[in-house]
Subunit: 150 residues, 3 copies
């Protein structure tokens, strides 16, 4: 091993790694929640990052990504129902596609989620899952996952 | 070139870069959406980061930053209208400045957005634009842009 | 000092640092806001990061973390009130624990906040504070703080 190899090894063993991946999902109804926790965790594992952050980003404006309970399926069902009550269709809307209620929910819940990675895994609470929210489906949707860390 | 120069070059060519910039905008009404996508993209280009993340952060509590459709101007108009319906002024509010509806919208939509940078550009969907949301204008507002990556 | 020490020093003085810490808070009512700005700033100071980002993440699904005014205590009081009006209990909810309104607020406001660190301090506006939002207390809650930068 030459000196330069030693330096390279030292360097590469410490430097921050940057990974990017994506996956598609197929949503089944006009609205609905899909649990994507395991897909995001797979991206974290593939990145080899042990300590860092994970950004989940969706390139859509009538959908969102959120964290909520992963145990009782009545929770995503109830929150989806509540979001529809909070952001109903309104007769004052002008957008010709008729999906402004979906655009509103997208801004309320958001297209981006920043998570913590530690010990090579997502740091999530016991009851937390990562959920893709469809507000104007069914459609094929994409999820981008950026991981940075060491 | 000395050995130490070689090491420095190796080092600097790999290390994560960290950049910070800001810009001001002037909002025109009490509420309203301003498209800031090109200003944020300019900050990404100036940073020389090719692969990383971009954090857009506003230092205000009666405004927000969001992503939504950049094509039909009826979408930001409709979502602005819907947010005003979701968070109206309420007679039970006690805050003397009379802008608690704006503070509420700020917490609902949020002051921070984490985006992905790839190939030196923001990774955005075809219909996505980055929008500054004024809820208590008109005012001069500031937007901070932090970029990290390699 | 050997050549390898010089290289290590050069290396460690530039490389991105990654820190993780957490703290607990005790919430006092069924809903309520707790200012956690100084605890998060303490984590930033302890990390030695001068320029970077700070991710505040809570491992809960009936709480949230947000930024809002830190001056007049009527603002968090009013926003808490407004959130209860926007997401009331609904008779259509099925989740047996009876806290779906809290789960809804958690998705609306969010469990994660990405902040900018500069000069070793959080970059916040004059009126901005970081607030933990309890929606289903009183409980002991945890806040994770991830800092990355140089």
């Amino acid at each position: 091993m030459t000196a330069i190899d030693t330096i390279k090894q030292l360097f590469y063993s410490q430097v921050v790694m940057v990974s990017l991946s994506d996956f598609n999902i197929r949503t089944g109804g006009s609205t609905g929640w899909i649990n994507i926790t395991s897909e995001v965790q797979k991206a974290v594992s593939a990145s080899s990052v042990r300590e860092g952050i994970c950004v989940v980003f969706i390139p859509h404006t009538t959908a969102a990504v959120t964290i909520n309970e992963n145990a009782d399926s009545d929770v995503p069902r109830d929150v989806d129902f509540a979001l529809n009550m909070i952001s109903p269709d309104r007769r004052e809307f002008r957008h010709g596609e008729g999906n402004s209620a979906a655009h509103t929910k997208s801004s309320l819940v958001g297209p981006s989620l920043t998570l913590i990675v530690t010990n090579g895994k997502l740091l999530l609470g016991t009851w937390q899952g990562i959920w893709f929210n469809e507000y104007d489906g069914p459609r094929t949707r994409k999820v981008h996952v950026r991981i940075m860390g060491e």
